[in-house]
């Protein structure tokens, strides 16, 4: 597999670090070049990192329930930066409270995310999706 750059991070004021570390490990093991921004990443930092690393995909995590507020406008910032083609994934516990995931998925797709992953997704599923979307199969 040729080198594929990914940007990984937990958005907003969220400090959930465990899944982030596991994703970094699993994505690296799967052969991707991972630029992990860690926790508490702003929208601007995601855009900047995607530009600097020539990333093919940006994986945004949110575990604490503020995902809706934190992710709004992210896609627009990518478009403004000329990064229309960069894949945007989001996953985690994206909203406050137990809500129907179909509805959550619809909401985040409307915000411009290419894929939306529910709570409890294993790293392998994200890796599989990346390979499909990036034509690496």
């Amino acid at each position: 597999m040729k080198e594929v750059n990914l940007v990984l991070g937990v958005i907003g004021a969220d400090v959930h670090a465990i899944g982030n570390k596991i994703l970094e490990y699993a994505l690296t093991n799967a052969g991707f070049k991972v630029h992990n921004l860690g926790v508490m990443v702003s929208q601007e930092e995601f855009v900047k990192a995607a530009l600097e690393t020539d990333a093919k995909a940006v994986l945004v995590s949110s575990l604490y329930g503020h995902g809706e507020i934190d992710c709004r406008g992210l896609k627009e910032k990518f478009i403004e930066a000329g990064l229309d083609d960069v894949l945007l994934y989001v996953g985690g516990n994206l909203v406050v409270g137990k809500q129907d995931f179909t509805e959550v998925e619809r909401k985040f797709k409307a915000m411009g995310f290419d894929r939306v992953f529910p709570p409890g997704t294993m790293p392998e599923e994200a890796i599989q999706a990346l390979k499909e979307d990036l034509g690496l199969m």
Binding site: G12, A13, D14, V15, A17, I18, K21, I22, Y25, A26, G38, V39, M40, L63, Y64, G65, H66, E68, I69, N93, V95, V96, G97, K98, P119, G120, M122
Partner: protein, 482 residues
Amino acid sequence: MKGKIDLEKFLQTRKEVLAAWPTGAEVSLEDGINYHKALPPEKNFAVKLKKVKEEGITAIQPRAGVALLNEHIALLKYLEKEGEADFLPTTIDSYTRQNRYQEAQRGIEESLAEGRSMLNGFPAVNYGVYPCRKIIEEVNVPVQVRHGTPDARLLAEITLAGGFSSFEGGGITYNIPYAKEVPLRKSIEDWQYVDRLIGYYAEHGVLINRESFGPLTGTLVPPSITIAINILELLLAVEQGVKSFTLGLGQCGNLNQDVAALHGMVELAEEYLKRFGFQDVDLTTVFHQWMGGFPQDEARAFAVIAWGAVAAALAKANKVVVKTPHEALGVPTKEANAQGLKTTRQIVNMLKDQRFMVNEEYLLEKEMMKKEARAIVERTLELGEGDLVAGIERAFAAGVIDVPFAPSRFNLGKILPARDDTGAVRILEFGNLPFDSEIREFHRERLKRRGEKEGREPSFQMVIDDIYAIGKGMLVGKPRTK
């Protein structure tokens, strides 16, 4: 130890703290003290916790907080009535925890517009003193502020003047697992301010309980590290005049180890209080049900909740903080929250007259844990050369204290924990922990047993399997079959 912060200096800093957000202008120490004195004693956290300890029961407490005041009050009333909570919380939202009051304000406005909470907690600073008092007046049990704030000075000023009588956190436990870029010296000094404030209330006859956040990152934290950090935060707090302190511990999952950890922690804490001459401190304990990943299936989640309740009840923890069947999915509904409380209540009631049976493994576990925690605390004190704050700062920089999976860049992050074959949390990679060969051999030997059972060398993959294990219905992570 350097002693209490000078009152003049404290009052000087206080002016800046209160100026950080408009609601700070509402705070008056005198008014806050008078307000507490006018409250009935059954609403005081420290007083009730002391009573609970004397009675030898395990009190139950949920986590809860939403963006809008009336909804928050309704939530707490429901948890008091339907969930029979002995103590209530007010969980603070994550923007407030990072002092981002503008964003919290936006969260309140969007919640009003959407008719549902868009925040994961109650933004107490934005509301100010009087809405906090409304919460205290509407419920009949003591209420604690629970959060994760490295700089909680303004939050403490507002909520304590607002009638809250317990405040969770600490300069280590609310920095290392909750922040990325906050230097330890900054968070510890900001928390010394909080402790000094509580000391001020105590000097004027109002007892406020302080609680350390024992679970840290909530994921495979070796108990001795928790114990050492709790003791350091206890010493920092009592130095500033705190008179009621609760040591905290997160469940690991092996009953022997969990009970030994809670008992060992109290024994060692009492030893250090005595050594440094603090005699009039009410020391209590809180046990947190499993803080790591939960099963999505609610019946399975109830089993995890119940197992935490068993450990808390048998260890005779003074308080247990309760999880909910929605844990795997994020912030729970009020009904799910009450269900967690009821499950826990049933168990602590059933076990209240039963004691943990002391056994050899428990005794060995407790002895080893105390040895480890003592080694960490002693090395930290040495590094400080009489200055505890400097000692803690240096100990983290050197990896003498090291918390696994922490987001803070001021934590070395070189140690790696893993479960042994009985599910007890051991240390696979020691980083720079100041442990002697006896301790190291103990951990190595236990992990070797597991490795042999599973036919694999202990590795990072084993650790990942452990992190997911409870969510998948096991305690010890099994190798994946392809």
